[in-house]
């Protein structure tokens, strides 16, 4: 709650001054080094897209920034006054892994996040209005009293986005937020996210596999594969042929070759086992 006040000192437009810095950032789980030597500056008002192949460590990076897993190196957040503090982080997971049979309503979830009054005693009118307003921002106010398990995939992601935006975060982490959601749902979601940059003072990190989305909405693309392979504006990244050949979507022959190679790999694997 204390953080909210700090953010509200400069509401509205992004100031472009606050900054999240990752310095020599790495993650090792067990004996496997998943990420190493990452240096990134993420400024507010920017949508940074994190792309890379499966297993590149994109989700791991987000989880480490969230503090869910430990990391090496330095992670710091500087606000507009150039003062270090703990950032307010909003997080929209790829798929909220929860028990769909649980008797929890959308309002319950909001109240649990925003107030300390036990949800099982019911909700204050003030909180109901606040949650309703938050949901209206993502065109989901009609979902307020629905059970969480009854929501469709797109509805749930919009609810989670509304939740991540209240209180105003400094850093919004979106982990493939619309994978498996229909085209309309996707467009609605990304238009909302894109508007956020203008409305709020926050930096957004978006993990995505969808190159069309990335090129359309991102201000900056970070290509991640164990470490930062390439970083720049969409134009810069798409101009880099080497990167495009290795990771990009456009190179069709490579996909074909990969398919041809695949059976041989499996055969070899079988041989080793035998």
């Amino acid at each position: 709650m204390a953080h909210t006040g700090a953010v509200q000192d400069f509401p509205g437009k992004s100031c472009g001054l606050c900054c999240t810095k990752l310095k020599n950032f790495g993650v090792t789980i067990g004996k496997t080094e998943i990420l190493s030597g990452i240096d990134l500056h993420i400024h507010c008002g920017e949508l940074t897209a994190l792309v890379g192949p499966n297993g590149a460590g994109k989700t791991t990076l987000l989880r480490a920034v969230l503090g869910e897993i430990s990391h090496t190196g330095e992670l710091s957040f500087l606000d507009a006054g150039d003062c270090r503090r703990k950032p307010v982080v909003g997080y929209v997971p790829q798929r909220l892994d929860f028990d769909p049979g649980s008797p929890i309503s959308v309002l319950d979830l909001f109240s649990a996040c925003l107030s300390s009054r036990p949800v099982c005693l019911g909700h204050s009118r003030r909180l109901r209005e606040r949650a309703s307003a938050s949901l209206a921002g993502v065109q989901a106010q009609h979902l307020l009293d629905r059970r969480l398990g009854d929501l469709s995939g797109g509805e749930l992601q919009r609810v989670l986005l509304a939740l991540a935006l209240d209180p105003n975060p400094d850093l919004l982490l979106l982990d493939e937020p619309v994978s498996g959601i229909d085209v309309q749902g996707k467009e609605l979601f990304y238009d909302l996210v894109s508007d956020l940059r203008q409305q709020y003072d926050l930096s957004i990190i978006l993990v995505s596999h969808d190159w069309s989305v990335v090129s359309c909405y991102a201000d900056r693309i970070v290509l991640l594969d164990r470490t930062v392979q390439c970083c720049g504006s969409p134009q810069e990244v798409f101009a880099n042929e080497k990167i495009l050949r290795a990771y990009g979507p456009a190179v069709k022959e490579e996909t074909g070759q990969f398919r041809l190679k695949k059976p041989r790999v499996i055969q070899r694997g079988g041989g080793v086992n035998g």
Binding site: G101, I104, S115, V119
Partner: protein, 280 residues
């Protein structure tokens, strides 16, 4: 204190069964323990900790055994300390080894029951401990009722302070962490609270069925509720209803009280299961 309660019961319940002091005590115990189990049960079910609570119940045998080895007359406090240590150990094992929770809990549960039985059956004297297996609600004393009242107050206080955190962690730990909740600490605190509640109640409800009393009302309420308030209210109503019905019928049938109560809770569960399609 107790005199007021006895006079009150004599006044409003002029029935044959209510004339006995032990029935008045047991009724008060049901009214205290019911809400406590109902409230704890909602989160135990939400966290999918039914098996964990069962293990804590079973490992009470080892707690009793340790108490006996130390030569204590009343092993309750040793049992509580032991179960709290065990709860912390299980939640640490879970995070450290990353092994599946049900494997760890299954292993611990079996080991604790075996250890308890080995120690208690030394010299063939296990029978005098069988009261812990079945439990005896009718033997509750006014001092023990006071203890029960304190535990209930503790649970309500815990809920008042921590419920929202428990709820968020139960929905999704990553989400809870992004809201600044110390997930591991909250999880461990809940494990400890469950351990204390289960262990203190064991002598009255019995090791074999205590878990059912924790799980069934919440599971039944879950079938027919759409938000957290309904969940809690229905769960409390079901425990109170099955508690009072079980107490009365165990008196007339002369059966074990705890088991009779659990049977009623199971009926409620079956009943709500039939209505589930209308609510889900």
């Amino acid at each position: 204190m107790m005199e007021i309660w006895y006079a009150f019961i004599n006044h409003i319940l002029p029935f044959a069964w209510a004339q006995h002091t032990f029935m008045k005590n047991a009724l008060l115990a049901v009214l205290l323990a019911g809400p406590m189990f109902a409230i704890m049960g909602t989160m135990v079910v939400n966290n999918k900790m039914a098996f964990f609570a069962d293990t804590i119940g079973h490992s009470a045998l080892t707690g009793i055994a340790i108490g006996v080895l130390l030569g204590l007359q009343d092993p309750l406090w040793i049992m509580v300390v032991f179960s709290v240590l065990l709860a912390v150990a299980i939640s640490m094992l879970k995070t450290l080894t990353g092994a599946s929770t049900d494997t760890i809990i299954g292993a611990v549960s079996a080991a604790m029951v075996a250890l308890g039985i080995v120690i208690l059956s030394r010299g063939g004297g296990f029978n005098k401990f069988s009261r812990f297996l079945i439990g005896d609600l009718l033997s509750i004393t006014s001092k023990e009722l006071l203890l029960l009242a304190f535990v209930l107050a503790g649970v309500i206080l815990l809920w008042g302070l921590m419920f929202n955190k428990f709820l968020l962690v139960s929905v999704n730990p990553s989400l809870a962490l992004s809201r600044g909740i110390p997930v591991r600490l909250v999880e461990t605190l809940f494990c400890i609270a469950t351990a204390v509640v289960v262990t203190i109640s064991i002598q009255w409800v019995g090791i074999l069925i205590i878990n059912a009393l924790l799980i069934l009302p919440a599971a039944a309420a879950r079938n027919i509720s759409r938000n957290m308030r309904q969940y809690h209210v229905i769960s409390i109503l079901i425990t109170l209803a099955s508690g009072i019905a079980g107490l009365l019928l165990s008196y007339y049938w002369s059966t074990a009280t705890g088991a009779t109560i659990v049977l009623f809770a199971a009926l409620f569960y079956l009943g709500t299961l039939l209505f589930k399609p209308r609510f889900a």
